[in-house]
Symmetry: D2
Subunit: 374 residues, 4 copies
Amino acid sequence: MGMVGGGPGAFIGNVHRMAAALDGQIELVCGAFSSHATRSAEAGRQLFLPADRVYPDYETMIQTEKQLPVGQRMDFISIVTPNHLHFAPAKLALENGFDVVCDKPITFSTSEAVELVQLVNKTGRLFCLTHNYTGYPMVRQARAMVHSGVLGTVRKVVVEYPQGWLASRIEATGQKQAGWRTDPAQAGKAGCMGDIGTHAENLAEYITGLQIESVAADLTTFVEGRKLDDDGSVLLRFAGGAKGVLLASQISVGEENNLKIRVYGEKAGIEWNQTEPNTLLVKQADRPVEVYRTGGNGLSPEAMLATRLPAGHPEGYLEAFANLYKNFALACRKKAAGENPNIDFPTVEDGLRGMKFIDAVVASSFQNAAWVSV
Amino acid sequence: MGMVGGGPGAFIGNVHRMAAALDGQIELVCGAFSSHATRSAEAGRQLFLPADRVYPDYETMIQTEKQLPVGQRMDFISIVTPNHLHFAPAKLALENGFDVVCDKPITFSTSEAVELVQLVNKTGRLFCLTHNYTGYPMVRQARAMVHSGVLGTVRKVVVEYPQGWLASRIEATGQKQAGWRTDPAQAGKAGCMGDIGTHAENLAEYITGLQIESVAADLTTFVEGRKLDDDGSVLLRFAGGAKGVLLASQISVGEENNLKIRVYGEKAGIEWNQTEPNTLLVKQADRPVEVYRTGGNGLSPEAMLATRLPAGHPEGYLEAFANLYKNFALACRKKAAGENPNIDFPTVEDGLRGMKFIDAVVASSFQNAAWVSV
Amino acid sequence: MGMVGGGPGAFIGNVHRMAAALDGQIELVCGAFSSHATRSAEAGRQLFLPADRVYPDYETMIQTEKQLPVGQRMDFISIVTPNHLHFAPAKLALENGFDVVCDKPITFSTSEAVELVQLVNKTGRLFCLTHNYTGYPMVRQARAMVHSGVLGTVRKVVVEYPQGWLASRIEATGQKQAGWRTDPAQAGKAGCMGDIGTHAENLAEYITGLQIESVAADLTTFVEGRKLDDDGSVLLRFAGGAKGVLLASQISVGEENNLKIRVYGEKAGIEWNQTEPNTLLVKQADRPVEVYRTGGNGLSPEAMLATRLPAGHPEGYLEAFANLYKNFALACRKKAAGENPNIDFPTVEDGLRGMKFIDAVVASSFQNAAWVSV
Amino acid sequence: MGMVGGGPGAFIGNVHRMAAALDGQIELVCGAFSSHATRSAEAGRQLFLPADRVYPDYETMIQTEKQLPVGQRMDFISIVTPNHLHFAPAKLALENGFDVVCDKPITFSTSEAVELVQLVNKTGRLFCLTHNYTGYPMVRQARAMVHSGVLGTVRKVVVEYPQGWLASRIEATGQKQAGWRTDPAQAGKAGCMGDIGTHAENLAEYITGLQIESVAADLTTFVEGRKLDDDGSVLLRFAGGAKGVLLASQISVGEENNLKIRVYGEKAGIEWNQTEPNTLLVKQADRPVEVYRTGGNGLSPEAMLATRLPAGHPEGYLEAFANLYKNFALACRKKAAGENPNIDFPTVEDGLRGMKFIDAVVASSFQNAAWVSV
């Protein structure tokens, strides 16, 4: 694996490295960690990389690595830069024969996402978008239970993602994470909705297997001086008649990272909360609520495959994130072996869905929460 | 206290009786428990009432009791009939000099509610609408903290009220509670929104002290053959700029009665859940979340006044309900003593707010979730 | 009902009154509320009792009421005084033909308890000891599940009752509740163990149907200057081979009233916590943990009989307490009708068990936690 | 790092590998993964190790690696075998100049532990015992708060570790994990107490900074045919006067791995539960309970150093485990640089404490729960 971005002060770059390392299946062999060559070099030293595999920029990395023999050169790149810097390295990697792991949202604009979809289809490369919350064992259990009919026809979805860390204007203090996320030039047309709303959208579609058909969104910028939305409430209509609500907020003071989803069908409901991710509540109409647990009784093969430890040994954010890398690595190996690489991880198509969702909620909000198709 | 309704098979009538009895301040002295005279008489016997204080209908009760001397006759009536039977007894009682406690929603139609407001103003009688959830000590604590500025300016309100008991068409089986709630002739123009959505609306306004200015509502009837909404999602805009979401559902399988509210201000957020009603989470931006508890440390006088037991002795639904009766009885006594009867309980004005809310969400939903003023 | 004790400043007297009133089956008709005649009279006035039914002492009350015709006189007495004042009024009431409700622990000394057992047997009167925690619907559910074999043979019981309110010497400040509980002359030979340890003991025996055979106890007085234990840990051995631990503490700072029990059998375990009393966790070996809820799915008749409200309408401490009064009132009526009055409520025998438990833990602690038979 | 043990079917070996890999500070370079040479070789292949660094036994590994130049050879060994196979490789490693990480309990017998302590002292090597639960950020926060005096003098400790996986005789089915843990020849003189009781003991001493002085233990073997204890309850007395209870059980059906500790001082109490490890409850006498959270507000430097992610991104068992490896690696580096390697991780002395604790509880239980000094 070669990494693009993730230099000093980055949050998500280190997450990707830990997630990739966890299972001993992936080795970080090179990187272009910063647009400043010296910072990139420094990051490489701290990561114990040989100096000649630390590059000043992603173009050099891709071109140089391509010259190395297979087995020695990086197998894929992992892109962990701010949103506006996803597209170019992804494109170049795909065009030069490398598979790609990319943080979300997939690109700065929908047109770029469309182009990436086409490029993936054309090149036949693998592309993994790190919608990491789908990596939790209990999220996979939820999906499996919806698909196997435990809930019956899905009627209602409530997905919410409140955070509080942007309740005041910390971007004005130089906080790097806040800085690019609230800057339209780096984040894109949406703030909160792009950053975490897309996670909620992806989670809802992943678990239910249903597509959001239209949205009525009321986005708000509560913090004065901020240019992008920092809060939004969205009415959802799904293909097939289910309805729902999606809430995303970064001004909900005191909330950490409380992604939560509830899905109600004709026969049962389920509830999952990222803050206590190893628990899935299953609420059938005619019996006591059941507490499904990572590593516990009654789990589907999909959940068990995503589990490393016995029940009661909490698996967290990094383990879920690592499940995407694990599946991606397995898919790469399968493809290399000429087998079908179809293994569960979010794809370039999911990335495009996310961009269309952003477009739709922003458009709806501009039209005073009128319904807009996704 | 004289009761109208609450005969055999009723749920809420018995709740009112237990709530009124709890504190030893109110005595049930008469009633017209059913529109069937023999059922009313039978109910009276079971309640240990003398036969001559059990009436065949509310008209007889009001006219007869009026003839009795003060101190012996009932001091007020409590109306616990289905929605369409609130107005007439309330009106007659007010016109004949009796104070009134009435279950919610206040009336079948908004015009009736307007008339009751006028009548209360004209007669100077006391009127308590049993929006019982405002009786919980931790709800009063929440209101006190918002009002004292702990949260700063309120930005976001998320109030939800999911139930699951109407997920299938149990009204077709003869279930009495489901029957009248799903019948437009008895419930009014809204189903779920009238039955529990108004509780959510009232709670949000009670705690925040803010009025909902406009709504964009998507109501649904998920259960085939049902005539009224059994689920709804509503975007909220409050006077002053706060925003929010109100969810009410009776098809959320496995949910019991999970009224929950979160309010976020500039400086702090609060969270309360009726299912664990003795806990209030307070989330200030710069310190650990605090767990306020009924009877515990740090409480406001308003919360303490609503508390009967030391911390750790759970107070529940009936105790909260009884707080309305307790306050109402105290107000009656104050008024009788020529004092200002202004004590915290929901009034006829709150009832009218609820009716306007119902009108607005129904109108919005007919217009495909367009914004409608309340 | 006539009450002994429960005057100004009392906690438990008011609890008994609210519990007795809740279901409309019991009326407070007289009382001797204080050993000070004027205080007793004042309490009676506040309770709306006629002056001639408010007595200066329990002897006068019992003798006077006895002269009144049945139907007018009190049917039973309720004793809510400190421990050392339970025996005499209970004895006098039994001897004069009145049934008795008595707070716990039953008496000041075991010999008194033995005498009461004999007196109850001799007189044939009904005697209810208010081990109120057995009144919770989910405690009854727990007992029913143990008895029906869901757990298989019981192996392990962990029962704990931590409180924190006596972590400092508040009895020195004049706090009345703390005063008598820490005074050997009023509380008896045990402090914490008598006050709340007996609740834990009773709960464990009630749910499991097993008797504690022997104990090894380490009692401590942590607060300097205090004469009775304020904390204790007890190893338990039950008849039949089950083992366990009982913890009771009043110096566990920050704990409210967290009575909690876990019972593990060969096939399943259960867990119940008084702080969230409407939930019972059932943990079977081969399936997800199940969440049984008051008013919810899958309940036994015993639990349903103890329930007043639909699921999700929290029932609390007073409702549980009221279940003892309700059952007692029903038993009184059955007996009056010549029927078998055998209905679930704690009896004089449970009171004697509690006294023997106190004796055993105190004796064991004096012997450095040697095993002592109960 | 070179690993001893952890071949096919092992649980803890893989845990150690993931924990060591997580932070990119430690590389697995060699191993003797099984006492069967072919199984060891197979394990090495799956771990992408070169064949010449996979050894048939630990003696060969240590002797061979020793010949390699520093920088290329392993820096330390990690011992993940069953208990009876800890001592020999640890001894050999220490004697040959390698630092050691070793799973717990440290050895099969106390005399071996004494010898290891002496050897560590003599050789000056670093020795880390993986009492992994001390690696959780909130455990470090708890320790820091006790040490800084938030609780005042500690009075009471309740530590419990219930599991349910050995509630039936699964060792008879060939389950490998159950097999060696219930075999006195591999596990030592204690079953449950050695396997998980020592974790509880270590956690209690780590957080409080107090040593257990004496124990009164009641150990039981509930499952027929089993030779070692599968459940135990222990009264604790700490140096300085604090008291406590330690519960460990592997027959508590339905419990996963619920290590939990509560510590009460004069001024405050704390509560931590491994099942939800990112939360620490702090209960001060005069204010609402506070919820400290990994990555959240108000944390000590010790907690922050052990944290990788922002609040709300759950860190779990592996992250806590990795904190030991991270600190150990840092200590190795400090020592190599001639700096003081004193960094927080459990040491050989903690291992000896654990063995003495096992001795004491087993001895006490044989004497019918008499007090035995640790």
